[in-house]
Each structure stands twice: as C-alpha cells, then as structure tokens.
Symmetry: C3
Subunit: 334 residues, 3 copies
C-alpha cells in the first residue's frame, strides 16, 4: 500500500514523504520498521516519536509541527490507526463449513453460508442468519435467534429464546441468558423465581470473554446497538444498556438498572439495582453507584459523587494523617 493510498484511506495529509513508498503494515512506535506505519495518540509515548524507525507516523495536526520525518497529519491518529488496521486485517467471512463433529438439531434453521465449528451444539428451532460463524464448543439453546454476520467465539452460550441482532460478537466463554438471580424468602428457604424473560442484543454489540448477561425475570434484558462490554462483566436481569455505551472489565450492574446511551464505565465499577444512569455518563474505575446519576456527568468514588468533588476528597483523604497531626499540635499548643 503506497503512502498516497494510506493518506487517502485515513483522510490525512502526507508530509516529508514519497507518495510511492510502500507500507506493509502498522505497528507501535517502538516496534515499527522502515516499511511499516506507526501512530502517536497517547501523549505518554511522545518520547518514542524521534527514535522510531517507522516509515511513516500518523500524527495529530499540532504535534511536532517542525518535524522532518515522514508523517501523515490526521484529526484523530487513533481512529486513523484503527482504519488502517481494519484495512490490513479485514474481517473474516463465513464459508458455509459445517463440522461433522458438531450437533445441529434437525429443526434448526441455518442460512446456507453459516459456519459451525466442532463440538458446537445448535438446539431445536434455533435460527441463524447469513454469514454468521459459530465457534467450537458454542451452545445455542432452543429457540434462540442469531442474526447475520455474527461471530461467536469458542464456547459462547446463547440461552433459550434469546435474540442476537446482526454483526454481534461474543468473545469466548460469554454467557447470554443464564437465569437472573431472583428468590423470595418463604420463611425457611429461598424460593427460586422462574426467570422467564429473554436477553435481547441489538446490532453491532460486542460481549467480552466470560461475561454474563442474565435473562430477564419477566420482561427482557436489553443491550442496545453498538454497546461494547469487556470481559468478566455481570449484567443482571432486566438491565438495559443504552446504545454505544462501553464498559471495562469486571463491572457489575444490578437488576433492572437502566444505563443511558453513550456511557463510559470504568473497570470494577458496581451499580446498584433499579437505578437510572443518564446518557453520556462517565464513571471512574471502581466507582460504586447507589443512586440515580444525571446525564452527561463524570463521577467517581463509592458512593459515586461528581468527579471534581471526588478528586478533592481523595486528596484530602490521603492527607488525613498530616492534617490530623497538625490539628493535634495546634490543640496542644492551645
């Protein structure tokens, strides 16, 4: 791929370079070789720019304005990296291969080009749309519906009657549609409440490895289009995750909580049940949310508070020993 083509693909401007030079791939600044592109988006890695052997660097317009290196100026170097990487590694396609070592119930309806890997189990009345690929050891239970061009990695589970839209990705071990956690205390035992809702996952959602999304108790648990969930996350029954929200690993969302659209939730955050988290909220890692949060806010701490207040609280908390000594000294002086 020529430099001129790279620049066109990422809508950038080539500086100090020969447009006919060929680029074979993309790497990080430290590892890139002369025939590879690199990118600089994390300012912590700025010092690597000068030493990099990369043939070209994707760079923001204001960075190193006087450099004589070959660079391509772009608005968002990380997005440019993503675009280029997606060009070099296009998504796989299904081939219609069906392993004889899989089990497919005769009542399942699969598009002709669906791939089924060894040891997968496709239950009764399952429907799978065109272009979808079902990985080794996956279990798709009775009546589940999987859209087109989905990619289910090894050992993912889709429970009975759950619905996946198009282009949904399940990483290995993801579990969609386990029972929600619901009991009523009878006076001598916890009576299990049948969990009869479904999980509905809209288009372009990705679910991380070993993440669990429980089915609704009565109605459905819903993950709206474009949401991205990392590994080892717990989504309880009847939660709704808004479109394009993104959450880091080990987050836990309790039952019936509504997360707005475009939220960003850090790792190990916990959110109590029956809450309303507004659109576009940002939550720092390890936050604990015990009440509704207004749209557009940034929060931290447990219980969560506005981020600025939280930073002040953290600073003062760390200084408590010093403050206390000073107060004690003053008191004694009095």
């Amino acid at each position: 791929m020529r430099l001129s083509e790279v620049a066109a693909l990422v809508a950038g401007k080539l500086e100090n370079g020969n447009q006919f030079v060929e680029i074979a791939g993309i790497q990080d600044l430290q590892a890139a070789r002369e025939n590879e592109a690199a990118f600089l988006s994390n300012m912590r890695l700025k010092h690597q720019f000068n030493d990099s052997r990369a043939g070209v660097v994707l760079l923001g317009s204001a960075m190193f304005p006087d450099t004589d290196r070959t660079v391509i100026r772009v608005d968002d170097p990380y997005l440019a990296f993503a675009t280029l990487q997606r060009h070099f590694y296009p998504e796989g396609k299904s081939t219609g291969s069906r392993s004889e070592a899989a089990f497919v119930d005769p009542s399942a309806r699969l598009a002709d080009d669906v791939d089924i890997a060894p040891m997968a189990v496709i239950g009764p009345n399952v429907e799978i749309g065109s272009g979808s690929r079902i990985g080794s050891g996956c279990v798709i239970e009775a009546g589940a519906v999987i859209g087109c061009n989905c990619l289910l990695h090894a050992r993912a589970v889709v429970g009975g009657n759950c619905i996946l839209g198009d282009r949904v990705i399940l990483q290995p071990g993801a579990i969609i549609g386990a029972d929600g956690f619901g009991y009523a205390w009878s006076g001598k035992e916890h009576l299990k409440i049948p969990q009869v809702g479904r999980v509905v996952i809209e288009d372009d959602v990705e679910i991380g490895a070993n993440t669990c999304v429980d089915r609704g108790a009565i109605g459905d648990t819903l993950i709206e289009r474009g949401a991205k969930l990392d590994n080892l996350i717990q989504i309880a029954h009847n939660v709704r995750i808004g479109a394009c929200s993104i959450m880091a690993s080990q987050v836990g969302i309790s039952g019936s909580t509504l997360i707005g659209k475009g939220c960003q939730i850090g790792g190990q955050v916990g959110i109590a049940g029956h809450l309303n988290i507004g659109d576009g909220c940002k939550l720092a890692a390890k936050s604990g949310v015990m009440s509704d949060l207004k749209a557009g806010g940034t929060y931290g701490g447990a219980p969560a508070m506005p981020h600025r207040q939280w930073l002040k609280v953290l600073a003062l908390t760390a200084r408590l020993p010093e403050i206390w000594s000073s107060l004690s000294r003053e008191h004694n002086r009095d």
Copy 2:
C-alpha cells in the same frame, strides 16, 4: 386460573374483584394486561400502581387501603409473586434422553431417567441420581457424585470426586472443583501444593454463571444446603458457606473463611482468608472484610465496620473538602 384460585394459592384476600375472572399469567405493573396479574413489592414503583392495566395486583395489606382496583391482599407481595410464577412455570422434568453426541464413560452409574445433552462428558465412576439433567457441553469428572433432580446448565464443570446433593442448580459455565490457589515459596519458585480436597455442595444450592468454587487443599470446601450464589463469584479452597446464605455477583471469599448461616453478602464484596463471619451477617456491596464479624450485624466499607458508623464516615468523607475549607478559613481568621 380464576381470581379465586389465585387468591387461594397465595393465601391472600381478593378485594373489588370477580372471583370467576381468568388470569393467564403474571407481569410487572407496567407491562401487565387485563388478563394478567401484577405485584407491587418495591415501593419505588408505587407510582405505577394507578396506571397499570393489570387485571389484579398482589398488594401488601397496608398499601392503597382505599383503592377500588381489583387487588389481592397478601402479607408479602414478592413471595406471592414467586408462588404464582412457580405455578405458571413449573420446573422441567428429566425424560431420560441421552444424546448420542455426548460421551459417557462405561463405568459411570446413571439413574434411568437422567438426561444427558449433546457434547456432555461423563467421566469414569461418576454417579448421577434420578431426575437430574446434564446440559450441553458439561464436564463431570471422574468419581464425582451428583444427587437427584439436579439441573446442570450448559458447560458447567464438576471436578473429580466432588459431591452435589439433591436439587442443586449450576448455571452455565459454573466451575466446581478447580484447584485451590496454594503455593509455597522455595526460594526460587512457587511450588504448587497438590489440592486434594473436594467440593461438597448440599441440597437446594444454586451456583451462578461462571462462578468458581475451588476444591479444598486438604479437607473439603463446603456449600451448605439452600445457599444461593450469583454469577462470577470466587470461593477459595476450604471455605464453608452456611445454610441459606446468599451472595450477589463478583463476591470473592478467600481461603478457609467460614461464612455463617443466613448471611446476605452484596456484590463485589471481598473477604480475607481464615475469618469467621457470624450467622445472619449482612454486608453492603463492595465491602472489604479483614477481621471476624459478629453474628447478626450489618456492615459496610473497606475495611468493614458497623453499617451506621460506615454511613456517618461516608457522609463526612464526602464533606471533607467543605470541612477543610471551613477549618482553613477559621485558622486564617485566627
């Protein structure tokens, strides 16, 4: 099901209704239609009562005393809901179906009516009691014993020699009997200590999706009857969980800790090793427990403290910036 039958089933009193009206199912207040029941147990949803189209609402005796809606008065609406839902969705039964796509070791002893789904693996000398159902892709290792009427969902693992009582439910991906985490430092490497104990799970226990219960290092890890564990929980070697204790997702219990009976443990709680948590303790979400806790107490925070003290600490911590400004002002005035 007639209203009179519903009232009888939940031991409630029908008000303002025709006992011959038929009810087809149960829903939440917002979704319920004229031929469905609903219930009101969470007071946060009180405002939905008047607008609900439900044919009947299961209601506590003191709520909306003057309503002219059709209601059934009960002591505990949530328990009544559970009872009714269990009536409409009775538990499944095994049918004795054995998938030819499963692997059953010839030395395994299975009751005639046990179900084995595709891709399940039943190892040597395993015993499985009457009425139990083994889901797709489950692995039951050598010498494990599973009682009667158990339900193992897809891809659950029961390790060698582990014991499950009757009516145990394993959600998908649950792992019973992985090795405990035990090493001794030799001066140059971590020497693995063989983990030779078992996991023993008593009757009526439910274990959540992708939850891990490790086998004992020497003796056993024990989950007593009626305990309920949510998803993604870690139970380390030689822990004992008391009868009817219940814990929310992503809790972690370190080695050899004893949890009493009837405890309630919130999400993402961590408990250190070799501790004693008394019967009936309640722990707020995200608590971190570093010492023994007395029976019957309610605790929060990390390290955990009595709940009242914790609430005061939280309130003051959030006010630290304000308190500090006021102290500084005073000091400067002096």
Copy 3:
C-alpha cells in the same frame, strides 16, 4: 513413609519421635490422625497444636521449644508441608490416550504421548509437546503452540497463534487469547480495532479458573515464567506480568501495564493502563492503582499509597465521626 524419611525429605530434625514410625499422609492439625503428619505455619492456628492427634507435626525451630510431642523442626513449615504433599501426590503423567470423541485437525502435530480428552477441539496447525494433557472440552485454535508437560483442565481455551511454554497449567474455563478491548470512536460508532497480537505464556505459569488473558492489539501479551494467577482475573491486551509474580482472584490489569517480577497482588485489585509496577511490589486487596509504583514497595488503598500511610488513613477515616463531634464541640465551646 518412615519418620526418618519424612525428616530427610523436608531437611528437618526429628524430635521426641521413633524414626521407624510410619506416616501415611498429611492433614491439618485438627483432622490429622496418629498415622498422619500435620504442620503449623499459620500462627492463628497455634492453639490447635496441643490438641492435635497428628503422629508428627512439622514445626518452626522456635515454636513450642519445650514440647514433648513428636515434631520435625524445619525452617519453613509451609514449604515442608508442600514438599511432603507433593511426595504423597505426585503429578499425573500423560499416557498418550486419545479420545475418539475429540476432534483433532489432521494438520495438528501432537507428540505421541499427548492425552486428548473427549470433546476437545484441536485446530489446524496446532503443536503440542510431549507429556501434555488436554482436558475435556478444551479448544485449541489454529496455529497455537503448547509446550511439554502442560496440563489443560476442562474447557480451557487457547486462541489462535498463542504460545504456551512447558509445564503450564490452565485451570478449567481459562481463556487465553480472546480479543483485547480496543475501539476507536468514529463519531457515530465504536470501530473495532483488529487484535492481531498473541498471548505468550512462559514455563511454569498457572492460570486460574475462568481467568481471561487477552491477546495483544499489535504486539503480544506476556506472562513470564513462574507467574501464578488465581481465578476470574482479567489481563488486558499487551500487559506484561513479570516472572514469579502472583495474584489473587478477581484482579484486573488494564492494557499495556507492566507488572514487575516477584510482585504479590491481593484480590480484587485494579490497575489502570500504561503503568509500570516495579519488581517485588506488594498490593493489598482491593487496591486501585492509578500511577506507577516503585519497586519493592508495599501499597494499599484506591488510589494506592504506601501501606503505612494507608493504614493511618484507614484508622483516621473510621474515626471521622468521632473527630468531627469533638471538633464541633470545641467550636461551639469557643
């Protein structure tokens, strides 16, 4: 095994005992019988020493100096216990058994003595070295390389092109090589960045049940030799874990963070991305790390601070209500 042989194996000194007495195994102090050894390493269990029926107790040189019980004096009783337990329970060996209920791609290259359990899937061009054992339902994807004498428990996953050294243990459900969590915001959606790096796991590493180690975005994620990871841990893309580091369950390490050698990381710790944690760091359970940490330090809290400071902060935080009352009283008196 005679007492004299036990003493020789653990490099200890037999006191008050007959060297010809036979020992059949090892137990904890409370459960041990006359023909069994026990050990005392956790001083919290000191009170169990006198009542134990154990035939011999492995004991530190300074403990109970005047006891007339049969003891073997050793430098490190826990290490002695490990050594003895490893003697009584030697590691299993592969036998070359290949289940007909497994799927092995014809292009895979397996040493003759490799064991393959039922329902395992071995993909194209996989290599597995001598003595390795692949458990039931494991999935080894295309091009992965597994060294010698590895033990993969039930349902572990090794993703495409990932590398395992020798004597690596994967507990059940461990997932090596899921996609890292990387997206670029296009202005209207999260564009997935292809994750094209690998996971490289060196010799003698153990990975816990349902733990996830993601593949690198471009370069590799690396777990150095002898590191031990407990259950339900999240290791993000391009993380490096130093040799012999050990981490308890439910830890989460964000992308590109480097953990030094010989670190000890407590349960539920979270570490932000792109950080440098120096060699030999110790982190208290539930710590949250938001900046680089110097080698050799002990830290706690969120955000993490030196352990001594943290203990003072905790003590003062718990006393805030009392301090506040006292300040208010003083103020009013003024």
